[in-house]
Every structure is written in structure tokens, then in C-alpha cells.
Symmetry: C2
Subunit: 402 residues, 2 copies
């Protein structure tokens, strides 16, 4: 199979920030023709940080909108809205699919779309299931993750910086959309799909058993960088390098004990405490004493020596790195999923290929185009507008991209 | 459309922990017949925490394996492996699809599968793209998220507790699998798909522009609970309640200033500093002085009063909660995506419906079955084994589930 299994499929994206745009980007990497529609001047995410120091352009926007076609329309005017509806409901078995995160835009509702194309598939991404607003940072505090994250010795909750729920929601949306498309391919029936970020987060914590645990046993305490329910611990080497070490399986645990030279001491402690450390629950219960036994091995070695010893023994481990460390790895070619792309309006950027590999090949990484770049092209190709009509719409201020 | 657009599709899952099982669970919620295969006694995740205090059964395993059929086979024996291959490559347009995260099982390789069914679709989820091991906690430290998360006043990196990359990888896998299925439906061509957790994480940070930013501008500092590049701040009420407040858009910013009564003071500060707070980048740059202007409003009010004031003004905000707080919300029916299910072997559990809604309906939430529960049923139905053959395989120790 090629890396573009969705070639020929057309998706209209009317979304901003992470969830919707990452859905569209992923579908584009899988070969779909993704048409992103923006209001004149760009949506609310057009200047989102980080921005390029040289040009001020958003590195975030250009990364999340790669591989799409960009159409810029005046959405304050009925004529602009009419064009969105026409693009979204254009005929063809490979069209009539919309991803949006529009708030309060009744003109783009599912009934409005389905009235024009009965088998339209619409995936609406929202904040809360009742229509209320939410973003990644707000849902993450609400589902209790911040109460479990961070140092054990404070009561202050910690927000993590990764917009995880957004990214999960984006891929959940693409999953739902493609499932609905298979159903439509077979039955001719469209779909009115919706996904709330808050629901993704609630389901996420429930899906790991955490809600049932809290109801049964109360809240577990936060405990810093330890992993929950197993042996996952961070250690610091003599030169300050920090590593994460994980022993989920018996084999990983034995490798770790051997690497750090504590097998005998661990056995003695196990005997004294009547603990069986082959059981990850007991490794977890006694994590502090076990970590204390191992810590001198790390503290007596440089990061390089620690790395060598852990790797040689087959331990599951990693180094704590900064983004700059990742960049350095990329520069020496050690991160094949990252490539350099010349991004118009910015210059060379570090850009991800599609992480899904087909027959060993990553998905493509192309640059983002300028806002509105394909406005005329798309309206001509999909809706059949001719040059005179496009000229009139430009004169009337309905179209951007010129 | 019903909430089961994949009804009739058969997926064989041979995976453990979060990414693969969450992929299978989601496909099951969309209607697919997901057959999870475990070795006798269960895979390495069968006892993963959290566990039920009463029964010791894993709340995690039962949550992530809901809605699937369970087949338990002796994978040390060639006969057991043969059954896995036969299930994975059984004929039919709605079969021949495998999701696995098997490490070093050459007998289950893509060539081995494709030899038996040329159009098989195999989605292999791994740690690193070179076959090396990795888990969520190790890839997260390696891509620099831990260096940005946590209090501003320490140099200690912070692991967040959400296995975000696992969950993202699971949904990326379902997306890739359904894209490949559409391609197969149209062309008859199968797919050798692979996804590495480390690649998902590297692509994730690149997709927000963070790698390019680090290369251009160096590492940004961690800054506690502030959101990056906009105005997102946590505040504490008089009674200790903590809220997250976010102003991404101009309207959200105006609402926040109005709610906290600082509009005039903010205007004066803007004039004095020559800053335009309509621009989120400037709200970010001056976040500390802006937060300091607002803090007294929060400190003078109870959490309930804060909530009322923010909501009335249309501010985007949330409360920092614990898992127990979420449970309390569920108990009063305020979280429709969560339901109670009677889980055999455990009792009543809080279980998520599928968060994707179709025509307003959530996906189903069913219980997980016991390990191996469907072993005989599946082998009879899919492979046509009769009672005598099943009996012989049980006697030979090849089958579990009895």
C-alpha cells in the first residue's frame, strides 16, 4: 500500500487550534485533499505561539496546517457562508465530509448541511457535550490529572504542557470520521457526529480504571516522578544527567537489578520484608527502598556511563531531555520521523512526517501554504466558478487570498 | 447513522497495556467484533494497577478491554501460534485485520501473515521505529515535555501522569487502520502498517512548532501553571478552591477583565507599558502583572462566588478537581459520558461510553469478559473447529478459558 490510502477523498475543515487542525493534517498525510476554510485574516489560531522570531509567523499554525489547501472567505457575509456550505456539500462519493469546531454557527449546523446533501458526514468537535466552552488546559484540571501530577511534597496541582486531550480528540475524530465513511460507502447513509473535548478527557481517565479506583479507595496521592503501580523511577547521574528507568515486566526488573548490581541486596530486602519483587505491585509498594538501593550506582557514574550500563543490560530506560536535545538529535539524523522543510513565510522548519509507516515509509511532510492561497483554485475546481465570478466575489470582499 | 458503523468488521488484537488495547476498545465501541488474544494466564498487563481492593482484579485491564471477545491460547506451542495466524487471516472482506504490539515474535510478522492472506492489514505498534523498547514515560522524557512541565522555581523535570502518547498512538493506529481498510475495500490491496510510540511523540512536539522554536530561540523556560503564548493562569479563592482561567480570544479577555473588575486598571497598565492586551502575545508577556491585578478578586471570594462571577461574565475557566470530585459529579449525573457497569469479577465500575456521538448518542459501554471467555466460541465460529477438536486442544494445553 502507498502511504496515501485516502487519495481522492475530499475533507472540508473549518476548525482552529489543535484538535480539528491535527485531524485535518493527519487525513492530508494519509492522502486526502483537505480544504481548510478560514475567515478573512485567519481564524483565532493564526498567530498562536510559538512564532518565528524573524518573521512573526506562527510556527504552530504552519505546522498544524501542512499539506492542506487554504481557502479564505468572508464569513460575515451570506455569500461567504454560502460558499462554505457549497464546498462542504459538493457532490461525489469522495466528498461531503466536514470537520469543524465552530461555536454558535447555526448556518453550519448538521441540519443545514444535510438539507443540501443528505449523506453528508459532519464531525463537530466541541468543548463540552452541552455546547459549553472548554480547552485542553481547562478539561485537564477538571478531570483530576493536575491533582496527580507534580512533586510529592507540595499540595499545588501541576498543569502539564502537552495539549494531550486535544491531540487525542483529533485522532478520535479521524477514527470516527473514517468509520462513518465506511458506513456511508456501504449504505449511502451520512452521519451527524460530535465529539466533546471534556468527554474525551472523562473517558480517558475512566478507561484506565482511575474513576472506579477513586470511588472505591479515595484519591491516591501524587508522588512525583514515580510511575503508578509498578517500578518507574528517575535517577540522577554524577554529572547531573537524569534518567527514567521502568521495570514493568519481570525481565525488565531482573535487567535493572543486574545493571545496578543490587540483585543480592534486593533479594535480602525481599526476604526481610517478605516481599516478592517479581510482582510489580510489590516493587511499587517498596519503590522508595528499592530506588534507594540503586541510587548510589547512578550517583557514582557519569550520564554516559549510566547509559552504557543500562543499555548493555537491556534495561528499559530513557534520558530526560530538553527540546534542544531533541533538535540536536534531529540534526545528526537520529530522528527519522522529523525532517526539514522550507516553509514559505518562515524559512527552514523542523517538520514531522506522518508517523504512520506503510511498508516502512513515513507519511509525507509538506509545507503549509499561505492563508487563502488556494481560494480561487478550489472555488473553480470544486464549484465551477469562472474567472468573472471569482473577480466579482473578490471585488465584493467575499474572497481573500489575493 | 447508528453508533455502530463498523458492525460486522472483525479485528484481531494481540496487544497489551494502553495503546493497542485502547485502539481495539474504540473499534469495538464503533461496532467491530474485536477478538483479543492473550497467552494462557493473560499478557503482562493483566494485573496492571489500579486493581480492585476487594477482588484484586485489574480495573485498568477490565476498562481497556470492554466490548471485546477474549481468546486465551498457549503461544509457547506451535499449535497455539497457528491458531493466532488462522484467526488473523481468516477469509472475508470484513476480516484479515490485526493490531499488535508484539515484540520479537517473528511468527506474527507481516510477511508471515501476508503469506497466508495477501490482503491482510496489519498495524504494528512498537516503542521505537528501530524496534527498540519504549513506553509512555520514557518517550515523554525524551521529547522534552518533562523539561517544560512543573513549577518555575525548580530545575527538576516533572513527569505528568497521563499516558498521553499511548492514547494518541492508539487513536492514530485506528485512523491508519481504517484508512488502509478503505484502500483495501477499493483496490483489494492489504497494508503493512507500523507506528512507533517514540515517533508519535516526536511528531507531536514538532506539530506544534516546538522543535523549530527550540532550534531558533533555544529552550523556553518552564513556567508553572501559566499557558504558553497566551493568558492562561491559575488562581486560588479564599477557601482554597483553585481555578484555571484562559483568555485565548479577545472576547474571552474582555470577559475576564470585566468579571474581575480590572478593566480600568488593565487599560492604565497597558498605556503605561505601551502594551496592547488585545494581542494575546502581549497578554502572555505581561502575564505576571496582569495576574497580580486580578488575584485580589479571587482571594476575596469563595470558590462558589468565583464560579458564579466567572460564569456570569462568560469567562473560559475550570475548577481544579481531584478524581474524587469527578466521581461526585458522575454520581449526580453531570457526566453523561460516564456510566455504571456491572463488571464480572469486580462489581459495579464507572465506565466510559464511547465519547464519539452519532446523532447525539454515545457509543456503548459494556463490561469486559473474563480472560479466555470466548476461546471455544471464536475458534468454532471463525475457524470451524468442532467440539472434538476443541476438546483435544484443551487436553493438549493449547487453549485456555475453561
Amino acid at each position: 500500500m502507498s502511504t496515501r490510502p485516502l487519495a481522492g477523498l475530499r475533507i472540508v475543515e473549518f476548525a482552529s487550534f489543535v484538535a480539528g487542525p491535527s485531524a485535518g493534517m493527519t487525513l492530508a498525510q494519509l492522502g486526502a485533499d483537505v480544504i481548510r476554510i478560514d475567515p478573512i485574516g485567519g481564524a483565532a489560531d493564526f498567530h498562536r505561539w510559538p512564532v518565528s522570531r524573524e518573521t512573526g509567523a506562527s510556527l504552530y499554525w504552519s505546522a498544524l496546517n501542512r499539506g492542506k489547501r487554504s481557502v479564505e472567505l468572508n464569513l460575515r457575509e451570506p455569500q461567504g457562508r454560502e460558499l462554505v456550505l457549497a464546498l462542504a456539500t459538493a457532490p461525489g462519493p469522495d466528498a461531503g465530509i466536514v470537520v469543524d469546531n465552530a461555536v454558535g454557527r447555526e448556518w453550519l449546523s448538521y441540519p443545514a448541511l444535510a438539507q443540501r446533501r443528505a449523506d453528508v458526514i459532519r464531525m463537530h468537535i466541541g468543548g463540552k457535550s452541552d455546547g459549553g466552552p472548554a480547552v485542553d488546559y481547562t478539561v485537564n484540571t477538571e478531570v483530576g490529572i493536575t491533582a496527580l501530577t507534580g512533586p510529592a511534597d507540595t499540595d499545588t496541582p501541576v498543569n502539564h504542557v502537552l495539549p494531550a486531550w486535544d491531540l487525542i480528540a483529533g485522532m478520535t475524530a479521524t477514527t470516527g470520521l473514517l468509520a462513518a465513511l465506511r458506513h456511508r460507502d456501504r449504505t449511502g447513509e451520512g452521519a451527524d457526529l460530535a465529539l466533546a473535548l471534556a468527554d474525551v478527557a472523562l473517558a480517558g481517565v475512566a478507561n484506565m480504571g482511575w474513576l472506579t479506583e477513586a470511588r472505591e479507595q479515595g484519591d491516591r496521592p501524587r508522588h512525583g516522578n514515580y510511575m503508578y503501580g509498578t517500578f518507574g523511577v528517575d535517577f540522577v547521574a554524577a554529572d547531573g544527567d537524569r534518567v527514567m528507568v521502568v521495570a514493568l515486566t519481570g525481565r525488565q526488573w531482573q535487567a535493572l537489578c543486574a545493571a545496578t548490581g543490587v540483585a543480592d541486596a534486593v533479594a535480602a530486602v525481599g526476604a526481610a520484608l517478605a516481599a516478592d519483587f517479581a510482582d510489580e505491585a510489590q516493587r511499587y509498594a517498596h519503590r522508595e527502598v528499592l530506588a534507594a538501593l540503586m541510587r548510589p550506582w547512578f550517583a557514582a557514574r557519569s550520564g554516559a556511563e549510566v547509559a552504557e550500563g543500562l543499555t548493555a543490560a537491556g534495561v528499559l530506560w530513557s534520558r530526560y531531555r530538553t527540546l534542544s536535545d531533541v533538535v540536536a538529535d534531529v540534526e545528526v539524523g537520529r530522528a527519522a520521523v522529523i525532517t526539514e522543510v522550507d516553509q514559505p513565510g518562515i524559512g527552514p522548519v523542523l517538520s514531522a512526517r506522518g508517523p504512520l509507516r506503510a511498508s516502512g515509509e513515513y507519511g509525507p511532510s509538506t509545507a503549509a501554504v499561505g492563508l487563502g492561497h488556494h481560494t480561487d483554485e478550489v472555488l473553480a475546481e470544486v464549484l465551477g466558478l469562472d474567472a468573472a465570478e471569482l473577480g466579482r466575489l473578490h471585488d465584493a470582499g467575499i474572497l481573500g487570498g489575493r
